[in-house]
């Protein structure tokens, strides 16, 4: 296990993540231009989906595929429920719902790092894990929104000013005039579903998966230099940006106390344990088990915040976004992935 962690720490892409952290910490003026960073994130989703689709179409729908997808769906329902149960007693219910959604969903970049990690060690995971990734993205969102709607109904009967209240202020000074009480518009479920399913990152991933599956070996060959060849380099660049981002986000952690930091580390471990148990019972391979654990352990910072920011406007991004990005993402990248891999190996032999 230790050697796995160490090997991970000499991986070029992971090292660029550390470089980003360092450069961000010393407050350098280094900046990846936002449009390029956005392109890189779209590229990763596209390459990820395409390669998953290719793997899927060449292997077909195997027994393992069905098992992985069923386990994935189960985890996508259990983990947010568990998260909400733990959180609701300690923090306000809107934040609890948003954080549950975040941890119930998945992180594509963590997934990519994990698939690279296991493939580099000869334990490549199946293409169906990309399908699991896609399917595990959304259930938590819907669940969280339902929880928030329910909370909202109860809250509206009670106190007039919930946590996320936006009150009038000019130039950082609270305005003199009395701030009107906030009445968050209850966004209709239909609109939320529309947002969740038409989110760009989500659609690009699914679309690329389908295209990868449909375009066959010829498609695979012509696309290979783009989706395979330069993949590691662009991933390294993107992780550099992620490091910078995490360093910046770490400066905004005042809304995340020790309890939430703890949650951001323990919750992944709980999710990974669940996934590992189910995966072992189902007799999955080391690679599949590791990546499934990573899906369970990872928290979304793309799709979920993109939907929750207006589906649950009362929840604070300075909590749910910061936790998933600045606590759980680095934890999984540095410690989690090699740890889950080591345990998966140990459970399998």
């Amino acid at each position: 296990m230790d050697s796995s962690i160490l090997a991970n720490l000499t991986d070029a892409a992971i090292l660029f993540f550390f470089l980003g952290l360092f450069v961000g910490a010393v407050r350098s003026n280094l900046e990846i231009p936002a449009p390029v960073a956005k392109f890189l994130s779209l590229y990763l989703l596209m390459a990820l989906g395409f390669k998953g689709g290719q793997a899927l179409s060449s292997a077909g729908i195997t027994d393992d595929a069905v098992k992985v997808i069923l386990i994935g769906l189960l985890l996508a329902l259990v983990i947010p429920a568990l998260g909400f149960a733990v959180l609701r007693s300690r923090i306000n219910p809107f934040d609890a719902a948003a954080i549950s959604a975040t941890y119930g969903s998945v992180s594509a970049v963590t997934f990519i790092a994990a698939t690279q990690f296991v493939a580099d060690r000869g334990d490549a995971a199946g293409g169906y894990l990309t399908v699991a990734l896609v399917l595990m993205e959304s259930p938590a969102i819907i669940m969280a929104v339902l929880l928030a709607t329910w909370t909202r109904a109860r809250v509206q009967a009670d106190a007039p000013s919930p946590t996320g209240a936006v009150t009038a202020a000019v130039g950082g000074v609270q305005a003199v005039g009395p701030a009107a009480p906030v009445e968050p518009t209850s966004m209709p479920m239909k609109a939320i579903l529309h947002e969740a399913f038409t989110d760009g990152a989500h659609l690009l991933l699914i679309g690329s998966l389908v295209i990868g599956a449909v375009s066959g070996p010829t498609g695979g060959e012509t696309m290979a230099p783009f989706v395979d060849g330069i993949f590691k380099g662009l991933l390294a660049f993107f992780l550099l940006e992620m490091g910078l981002l995490v360093a910046r986000q770490l400066r905004e952690v005042r809304d995340v106390g020790p309890f939430l930091v703890g949650f951001g580390i323990v919750m992944p471990l709980v999710g990974a344990t669940l996934a590992m148990t189910l995966g072992t019972l189902a007799g999955l391979s080391v690679g599949d088990k590791t990546v499934l654990a990573v899906l369970a352990a990872s928290a979304s910072y793309i799709v979920v915040p993109a939907v929750v920011r207006y589906a649950i406007p009362e929840a604070r991004p300075s909590r749910y976004f910061t936790m998933s990005l600045a606590v759980t993402f680095p934890f999984n990248i540095v410690v989690g992935i090699p740890l889950y891999y080591a345990v998966a190996g140990w459970l399998t032999t």
Binding site: A34, P35, K38, L40, V166, A201, R248, P305
Partner: protein, 96 residues
């Protein structure tokens, strides 16, 4: 030159569509929009994330003075729910 009221909105990019729709509904479809900008307000720091989840959009709308009140009334509930800044100032519109 003609008097106009100059509305400046700085709102979350994710919500910008709602504000623009409200203006469209009022028959005020003309506007200037700068997306992807940075800011800091009640809701914390915004801008510069690669997923464009939390950045701002700047919207400039020149409206006839007599419609100013109405626009304020239409935008206030949106500002109330989604946050953001709205400034109103005076300007002259150069007839072309």
């Amino acid at each position: 030159m003609q008097d106009v009221k100059r509305f400046e909105l700085v709102i979350g990019s994710a919500n910008a569509g709602r504000f623009l729709d409200a203006l469209d509904t009022m028959g005020l479809p003309h506007r200037t929009v700068i997306p992807g900008i940075y800011g800091q307000g009640q809701q914390g720091a915004r801008g510069g994330d690669p997923f464009s989840t939390f950045d701002n959009t700047y919207v400039l709308v020149a409206v006839p003075p007599e419609r100013s009140e109405e626009v304020v009334e239409a935008l206030r509930p949106l500002l109330h729910t989604f946050g953001g800044m709205c400034l109103v100032s005076d300007a002259k519109w150069v007839l072309r």
